[in-house]
Amino acid sequence: MTTATSTADRSPAPQLRRPLTAARLPRWAPAGIAVLSIALACAIGAGAGLASHLQWGVIAALLFVSISYGVAAKVEGHRQAKDRFFTSLVWTAFVLAVVPLVALLVYTFQQGSSVVDGNFLNHSMRGVLSSGPGGGIYHALLGTLQQVGLATLIAAPIGLLTAVYLVEYGRGRLAAAVTFFVDVMTGIPSIVAGLFILSVWNLALGFDYSGFSGSLALAILMMPVVVRSTEEMLKLVPNELREAAFALGVPKWKTILRVVIPTAIGGITTGVMLAVARITGETAPVLMLVFVSDSINTDPFNGPQMNLPVYIWQQYGYNNQYSYARAWGAALVLIAVVMGLNLIARGIARWRSPKTGH
């Protein structure tokens, strides 16, 4: 304290100086407050006889935010209380976002896991009564993989090249027009893409239902997503790397192929995989262009095929306990396929991303 008084003599505004230490809530305080609010909310909800658990949740959230603020204001002061207030809001929002996701996964697993077995995975619905047990998704899984694979083969190269054009070459009105149309394409409803292919490919050009015609519609949906994500990834590649390659006498196309794209390949792969995940769940265009089939059709260029989302829709429409179980099982497999793709994408991104360590 002696130093404080001696410096206070020289300081022009001694009343502004604040102590550097202050009372702090313990580290477990947020968790404690959360548990307390949930317990209180349960008590209030049960006591007031509120039937909806949604109401319990809202009460818990409100209690959590207000207790956090109140306790912090009492113990730590005004500024810390504001900090706690917004932190608790962020946590509440996080829980709000995660609950539906987890609930969806858990519910699908509960409903679907009972039917998913080897038989379910490697049998089709051929000769299986729609109202009886048995049958499987082999034909739909095969169709999904083929249609999405073909769509990716079409859309990924075109999308990648478009993004390269936009980032590395595009100047002026053509580039602006391409960007504009890519933006417009992002917003195309999937049914419109389906109708477009139906009118051009199937009606005007006279091709029959096939997995490939569904792939065309899926490719239209996938392309803008690939362009957008690839564009962002290419923009992240520092210009210095391009200049370094130019300064070594490397032509521009080779610089892009050997320096720019490898540097961004992790992000590009992730973007493509996310686009794949997006189109894997499309139902409308596939239903319209691939039609439905209960049998295995290994040729995506001829005749109707099946597809997991369409299969789910079909089984749901049969409206009995066995078909419901099959629909849930297919939904579970669909989620697993998309999740698997995402994990693979993350793996590739990590494996290929620029390394800095030793």
């Binding site: 790397l241 200049e243 390659a245 130019f246 300064a247 070594l248 006498g249 490397v250 610089t255 800095t356």
Partner: protein, 258 residues
Amino acid sequence: MAKRIDVSGLSAYYGGTKAIEDISMTIEPRSVTAFIGPSGCGKSTFLRTLNRMHEVIPGARVEGKVLLDDENLYGSTVDPVAVRRTVGMVFQRPNPFPTMSIYENVVAGLKLAGVKKKSVLDGVVESSLKGANLWNEVKDRLNKPGAGLSGGQQQRLCIARAIAVEPQVLLMDEPCSALDPISTLAIEDLIGELKERFTIVIVTHNMQQAARVSDRTAFFNLAGVGQPGKLIELDDTQRIFSNPSVQATEDYISGRFG
């Protein structure tokens, strides 16, 4: 191997803005020429016109002539890619390719030009890294990523990469400004060795560095903000730092402005 550069009446633009105006100078082979001057005076822009890197920036263009042993770099039939193979460049910030190992970084220029023979590449890696005084530090970890090296090592890696394609001129744009004094010393020593083989042009903000490493020094200045940069004088480094013929040069060197 090293070549003389003759620049005459060179102006460079960024869109409608003139960045440097009417520069003429001769850069001697097998010597180090330093460019000094205040920020924004066009040293780096001028440097980048010497290997046609200026035009990489959208909207940038160049007027005038740059003769490399009597061959005009801005002739209508000249391929900028070929120019950059002859006139190499080292940048301000070390920029090794992040996806490549040390080995791959050094041979990047050759490999991308189509050289595939392992024995040739191995030899180039060793001689270039030795040329850049980096061999002893990295010879046991050639397959580790280049980005894992320290800043000074990365810059020497970039120099090794630049000399691996056997250019005749080496342009250096403030190669030491992101480095600590020890790494700077290493690079300055290296410049002294490299000038036996290459024509070297170096842009620097550090006047002691210009005085230490260069044989000739060019002073650039600009009349005011928004005005194009101009070459004020080019002379032997000794003379520039002891007895310059223009007052502005003396003012700048003695620290009266800039």
